[in-house]
Symmetry: C2
Subunit: 504 residues, 2 copies
């Protein structure tokens, strides 16, 4: 499956062509063409695709087709999928016959299934619900043991709801909003498994991403994308009120809402809020993956089991691979991770900390990613590593966890640790946790400072107030470099473990 | 010369090992070990290296030696150079005999020569003066036609001057500062070419870098490294006063001054200020390259002509090569640059702008670097490109020019251009200049959106208020993608050129 894949997503609101590149298990998006086609415009009234929207759609498909041809992506690597608007239009065949790209019309079940794949491959959701709100339809999937247990679809997409309830202008009155809410509640009765279900809900789609960005800014949260951000139900209710009070054109002035969504964002917000109410969810975890990633994952992983075994591990390794830091290909990175985790375990064994497995996993992630910023510049590469990490994101980790990994990476060379701009995300004990992560990563890096794996292992001996590191050194190797390097970590070690440090 | 090189710089204040990597004309620093050895401590009083400083120095050299061995850098690729303190010490031979790395002691002339190489290979200095202030000595080089015309050295290094005039504590009285100033002026009489010379002065060394960072912050300048920043004489005078008023330990509280330099920074500032006064210079252009780069450049380029032909071009291509964007290896990048410059020239020919060659060069740089951020993440790659560019810097360009290139890159996909956080660096006309650069880069990228070089060229036809782009298309190629893409640039084109745009 290595090489390039193109997925075209012909949605009710926009058409989007995304190019993915797969390389030995790692993958990334490498190109994207987006156009707000609004193919579904007027469909609500006539049941057909209009001439003008079809013409717009075909022009964009011409562009997609020529783009793929020029880029040398062969037809069997192009997967064009059409969703709600085209699915529901009586004159669907007319449009498809004229399309220069062969498109498959997804059934509601297939659409829901791809949303499910996107969500469970970019979050840790094992049991709960996936919500996918598009322009035309909304899918809800009940997830059990990561598998889709129930897949349902409603014609409650943001474009369609906007047209049906006349929410495209504004301000919108409470009465109109109440009508939407009642409508959604009534429609959801079709899903008996949903009412008052509670638990986790993961949301995908551009509407959810925009609303999360808006809530993030309104709440003053540190911003590094919306991946893993929880859009709380109360914050969403506030947004619905703010958006309803504005004329449609001004809705884009709400920080986080893109101009292309100004008209339809209120309807989307109202629908999602009603779903949260109906199902008794406190909020929606947002993920940046969407239908397109779902389609791609099926090609990447195969139809039989299109799930990553471990999403968090996959995220870290996928990012590391991009910068030559995959432990299977970098003995230095593998060794730093081994030494850091060895110290973590030994110090926990000696009773110096609790040995929390979640913290251990974050330390592993920081160890694997600590040097990715070297590709930017040697100077300040610890800061560059954090930048690359925050920019790309780590699906499956919460924003707080990403911030902890980022700060451990940022402090992997020097300085006293602080959560810095990520303080608002910190939980009780995170200051100490970060100090532990950073100093263990630093010691591992110090012991492997010559990048030759000469220090094969390290055993800490606790002697009262002093922790002495006993090094297991390869025959013929010398330890001047590791001893010199590790000799400088006393201060941070003291903060992290309340002991002083000696290197034997 | 491809592969790794290690340069060890055994200075009076610190020892530093830097690893460089060369690859087909491109180069970068890939590792660095720094230790504030202070080998020159006490030398002023005794004329000898003390036992304690020598022991510290030898321990660090052991580390360097083991590091190079472990890293597999062969002895003929390691160049250790010793400067003022070791050069001047009567017991130099004792220290060198014990050193695990074979070090060569640089003559004052060689030291000045390497400083000259560092400066002229990282700035556009052709005629002027290079100032290199180290811990032990200060070198001044008169530069004519990029060559060193006169090379002189004085025992006026920051450590030495600190010890001699007792500036290591504080606050320091005006009388003491006056004594330093007079001393420097008197010593400089040895260089008859210097007095009142004026013109450009480029400064290298950690003292100059720290002072530039402090002046940058005090002045509220946008911060992206000190490369090319001009430390004005008046701003330096202010810094001398601020630093003199503080106890030595508190000097590091002046934003930009590193703690390891707190003791000696005042002496360094006072010496540089006196040089500027004596030579009649308005300020000092700072460069981040130093003695170590000078030594490396000689290996990279050869002793016969160790100068880059064109520093600015080299900076852009060196950075591009790191991210697979070198035009010789990326047909897409080469073609975008060709189309952008073609449009620039044609529109200048049509009288729509002045065709300033400096602007043309910045447009070329932006064209070559526009996609380097793709390695970070496809989303927001325009912002990532800017980040990578600002982080690595572009030696030979002024901060204003780097900001213009950075903003052109940042707006190479969408949005209306603004100088944003770099407004304080802007000169009259830069808003319009940036709009021109960005829209031409965007049009070039649009026409080459399929990355297949199908649009071979473009000819703008000016027809009253409309500029029509006539495309020269390869046989059998289609233009749906370029036409679609370029059709969206009307607004920015209007701002840049006051005309509307049509694609024929």
């Amino acid at each position: 499956v290595d090489g390039r894949w193109a997925v075209a997503d012909l949605g009710s609101n926009s058409f989007r062509l995304v190019v993915f590149e797969a390389d030995g298990g790692a993958w990334q998006r490498t190109d994207e063409i987006y156009e707000a086609v609004r193919i579904g415009e007027g469909l609500q009234a006539t049941g057909e695709l209009g001439e003008a929207p079809m013409a717009r759609g075909l022009a964009v498909l011409e562009v997609f087709s020529h783009f793929c041809e020029a880029a040398g992506i062969p037809p069997d690597r192009i997967d064009a999928v059409a969703t709600s608007a085209i699915r529901d239009a009586r004159n669907q065949a007319v449009f498809l016959a004229r399309s220069p790209l062969r498109a498959r019309v997804l059934s509601t079940e297939d659409e829901a299934r791809y949303g499910h794949l996107a969500a469970v491959n970019s979050s840790t959701l094992a049991d709960g619900v996936v919500l996918d709100l598009g322009g035309g339809s909304m899918q809800l999937v009940e997830v059990t043991g990561r598998r889709a247990a129930a897949l349902q679809s409603w014609k409650l997409g943001a474009v369609r709801t906007t047209e049906r309830f006349g929410l495209g202008d504004g301000p919108v009155k409470r009465k109109q909003l109440d009508a939407v809410r009642e409508h959604v509640h009534r429609k959801l009765e079709r899903a008996p498994w949903l009412a008052g279900r509670g638990g986790r809900l993961v949301a995908i789609g551009g509407t959810a991403r925009n609303l999360a960005a808006a809530a993030q800014r309104a709440g003053g949260w540190p911003e590094f994308g919306v991946q893993g951000f929880v859009l709380e139900r109360d914050a969403l209710a506030d947004l619905v009120e703010r958006l309803a009070a504005l004329p449609a054109r001004q809705r884009a002035r709400v920080d986080g809402i893109k101009p292309g969504r100004a008209e339809i964002i209120l309807a989307g917000a109202a629908v999602i809020h009603a779903v949260l109410e109906h199902g008794g969810f406190d909020g929606a975890e947002v993920t940046e993956a969407g239908l397109r990633e779902g389609v791609f994952f099926e090609h990447l992983l195969g139809r039989d089991r299109p799930l990553f075994d471990d999403v968090r591990r996959q995220s870290v390794l996928n990012l590391a691979a991009r910068y030559g830091s995959h432990p299977d290909r970098s003995p230095h990175v593998a060794h730093v991770a081994k030494l850091a985790l060895g110290l973590f375990d030994a110090l926990a064994g000696a009773g110096l900390h609790e040995g929390d497995p979640a913290e251990r996993e974050l330390l592993w992630a920081a160890s694997v990613l600590h040097d990715i910023g070297m590709t930017v510049d040697y100077d300040d590469h610890h800061k560059h590593s954090r930048y690359l990490l925050l920019s790309a994101g780590l699906p499956g980790f919460t924003p707080r966890e990403v911030a902890l990994v980022g700060q451990a990476v940022r402090f992997h060379r020097k300085g006293l640790t602080t959560m810095g701009p990520f303080e608002p995300l910190a939980q009780r004990g995170d200051g100490r946790r970060l100090a532990r992560m950073a100093v263990l990563l630093r010691l591992a890096e110090d012991l492997e400072r010559s990048r030759d794996q000469a220090v094969r292992g390290v055993r800490p001996e606790v002697d009262g107030e002093v922790v002495r590191l006993v090094l297991d050194v390869a025959p013929d190797a010398t330890v001047q470099v590791p001893r010199w390097a590790a000799g400088r970590e006393d201060e941070l070690f003291g903060r992290a473990f309340g002991r002083s440090l000696a290197v034997a």
